[in-house]
Symmetry: C2
Subunit: 216 residues, 2 copies
Amino acid sequence: MTPSKQEILSVAAECFMEQGYHATSIDDVARRLGATKGRVYHHYASKIDLFFDVHREGMARLFAAVEPARETEGDGATVLAAMLYAHALAVLENHTFESVVAQGVQMHRFGATTPGQRSTLDELIASRDHFEALFKNQAAIAKKDGSLADVDISIAVKTMLGGVQWSLIWYRPNVDSSARTRANLAKQMVRTLIDGVRTRAALQQDKPERRPSRAK
Amino acid sequence: MTPSKQEILSVAAECFMEQGYHATSIDDVARRLGATKGRVYHHYASKIDLFFDVHREGMARLFAAVEPARETEGDGATVLAAMLYAHALAVLENHTFESVVAQGVQMHRFGATTPGQRSTLDELIASRDHFEALFKNQAAIAKKDGSLADVDISIAVKTMLGGVQWSLIWYRPNVDSSARTRANLAKQMVRTLIDGVRTRAALQQDKPERRPSRAK
C-alpha cells in the first residue's frame, strides 16, 4: 500500500509527539505506517522536511478553526471568547499535530539547525506570531468597546492561549475522546480564562471598580 | 574545582532544557561546568538520576513558594490568587528547573524507561499531583465560601496552572530578568486567570447571573 501524504503526516505527528524530534527516525515513521522507507522519502527528502510539514499542517488547522469564529456576533470580548473556544476545540481535536507545533517553538529557541532549516523554522514561527496577533487584535477591539478589562493585552493573550495549550500536557485523547467531552473541556477552559473564576460578588468586595484613587 | 551538587543541578537543568533529556550527556554537563565527567559521576550514578534530582529540586521550589501563600488572609479566591501568584513568580524565577519538570511529565507519559526508573518517575508525578491538589483543595474552599464561581474545579485548576506554566514556552529569562518585570508578569497572569479579562459591565449584559431558568 502506498500511504498518502496525509497518512504520512498523521503517523509522523504521532512519532514526533511520543519520542520527540531527535529520537524519531524516518524508519520509525515507515514502520508504523507499515510501509517502506522509500515510500516516505518519495514525499519527504528528510526528517526535518517531514517535521516542518507536520508543523505547517498543525498551524493550518488552528487558523481554519479560529478564522470563522472572528465573524461571531457580539461585543469584543464575546468574539474573543468564541475565538478561544474554537482554538481550544482545535487543540483538543488535533492533539498530536499541535503537540508537534509546540515542539517546533522549542526547537526554534534552542535548535542547532542549519541556515536553510532555520529559515523554514523562522517562517513557521512567523505563522505562530500571526496567529497570536489575531487574538491580540481582537483583545484590542474588546478593550476599546469596553468589554475587556484594563489588562496588558500581550500578557493576557499569552496567558489565555497558554491556558488552553497546556492541555497538550494533560489531555489524554484516548481516554476523553468523545466530541461531547471535548466540547465541555473547551467550554470550561474558556470560561475560566475569559470570565475568571472569582465570583462577581467577591470581586465587588475585594476591588471596587472605577473608584477614583490617589494611591501611588 | 569540585562543583557542588547544587552547581551540577543548575547546569544540568540548563542542558536538559536546551537539548532535551535524550540529546544531553553527562559529558555535556561536565563540559559546561568546566569539570571532569568523574566529578559529576561522584554525585550521580547516571544521567537519569541527575534528571530526577533536577526534577525533584524543581518541585521542591514550587512547594516552597506556594505553601506560605496558603496562609494569606482573605476569602477563598483571594488565597487561591495568592497561591497562583507565588506559583507564577516561582515558575519565572526557576525557569530552567521548571522546564525540566515539564519534560519529566512528558517522559512519564511516553518514556521508554526501565521499571526502576519508572518507579522514580511515578514518585515525581505523585508529587506533581499533590501540588495540583493544593490548588484544587483551595478552589473547593473558595467555591464553598462563595468567592469562586461555579466552575469545574479540576479543569479550572489545570487551566490556571497551565496559563502560568506556558510561560516556560514564551518567557525569556535573559531578556526580562528584573524582579520587577517578573512581578508584573506574574500579576498580569494571575489577574487574567482569577478575575478573567471580560469586564463586569460586559458580563452583566451577556450572562445575567442567578436568573432562574428552566432551560435544559
